[in-house]
């Protein structure tokens, strides 16, 4: 089977390959499952404003809605804001899997209290809105900011600073567990 991933911002080809590789390994996909990432060709570079998110959603919808015709078996708008997820569920007759929606549901199966770790504080409101929309507000105990930068993630350069990312994640994750009582973490 083939799954199509669609990037919510304009990134390098290298970032697409890195996501394919990272997902393939961490998810333990079957040998006969392929995941293929494409970038949106127009749209924002960052997602810090509602307007940028709207621009992103529009372009993700245009790109992802081709998936069924292209012969894919499922499509993944690959951003933690789940861009265009519901619109795509209307348009397509193949499964549409949204990262935040799936993570929240899985977290709810694994534990009782969820903390979501995000990169920057501008993202808090988007996550809060989605959590409310999905009806998980009682299970999310906190949304914490890691301050991991786009540079460290290597979106543009393709070079990821894994040590810096790990250090920040552990620092903030520990707080979520010890201070907020979280028993499952979602790294958004």
């Amino acid at each position: 089977m083939r799954i199509k991933g669609v990037m919510p911002v304009i990134v390098s080809e290298a970032e697409c390959r890195r996501r394919e590789q990272g997902i393939y390994e961490d998810a333990g996909l079957r040998p006969d499952t392929k995941i293929e990432f494409v970038r949106i060709l127009k749209g924002p570079n960052y997602l810090s404003y509602y307007t940028e998110c709207l621009d992103s959603e529009y372009n993700v919808l245009l790109e992802a809605s081709k998936a069924e015709q292209e012969g894919y078996d499922a499509v993944q708008p690959d951003c933690v804001f789940d861009p265009a997820a519901r619109a795509l569920k209307e348009v397509l007759n193949i499964p549409v899997v949204a990262p935040l929606e799936c993570s929240l549901h899985l977290a709810s199966l694994l534990g009782r209290k969820i903390s979501i770790l995000i990169n920057e504080k501008e993202m808090i409101r988007f996550i809060e809105d989605k959590v409310r929309e999905y009806g998980f507000e009682q299970k999310v105990v906190s949304i914490k900011v890691t301050d991991i930068t786009y540079d460290e993630l290597g979106f543009i350069s393709g070079q990821r600073d894994k040590d810096a990312i790990d250090r920040k994640l552990i620092a903030i994750g520990t707080k979520a567990i010890e201070e907020d009582g979280a028993d499952v973490l979602i790294y958004a």
Binding site: A27, H105, S108, L109, L110, R112, D183
Partner: protein
Amino acid sequence: MKIKGITPVVVPLQECRVREEGIYQDAGLRKDTQIEFVSIPEGPSYLQFYGENLISEYNVYREGIKAENEGYSAVQPDCIFDPALKPLKEALNIPVVGPLECAVHIASLLGRKFSILVNDGSMVKFIEERIREYGFEKKLASVRVSGVTFEELGFSTKKDNESIKKKLLIAGKKAIEEDNADVIILACTSMFGFKELFMQEYGVPTLEPGVIAAKMGEMLVDLGLKQSKKAFPAFNHKIFPDKTEDISQKENSVAGTSCAFLGPKKG
């Protein structure tokens, strides 16, 4: 990988084979995934009362906790009431998948409001309580009674799939048209072959919870995930003795002596 399923009532071997076969086919499990069912060795034959459920949970727990030592990768208490689900999550270090818990989460991913079709009226309260416990009451459109009987389910005889189908269609149609459900959950883990029941006419997916749980078990193992040990910590003392001891036979038996919970001793 091997997944262990446990029936919540005492059933003949034949029913275990029916569940293994049904789940394997409907879930599209991988070639290297095996699902093996055992019946609880003792316990109730029906689950219509809280008391029966309590006895069922106790026996499912005792059978379930062996799974890790037996080399299984995941364990599935295979009843729609998710017997002993949370105790097993504490006791084990492998994923524990509850059919109802998994089904409501998948239903919530696929639609906006789901209806649950139960066999008989006695099941409604158990389902309602679980849904509240899992925090999904706002997404529950209704719990509808289909009237499917134990005889039709054929635990010890032959399943009457045609008759089951007819009853599910009537109850499901009402759930979709009158209660606005957009996903249907079949509340019995012994039902297979009904995934497409409401798809063509209504575009509504039908979830078979035993199937969903097994596939979730396979997925969690693939992802290297299991229940949070902060949420479900393992206790380090023994609460279930290996053999049931009759404490009344013991010297200085506690029976008859006063207990702090009962208040101060009189006189």
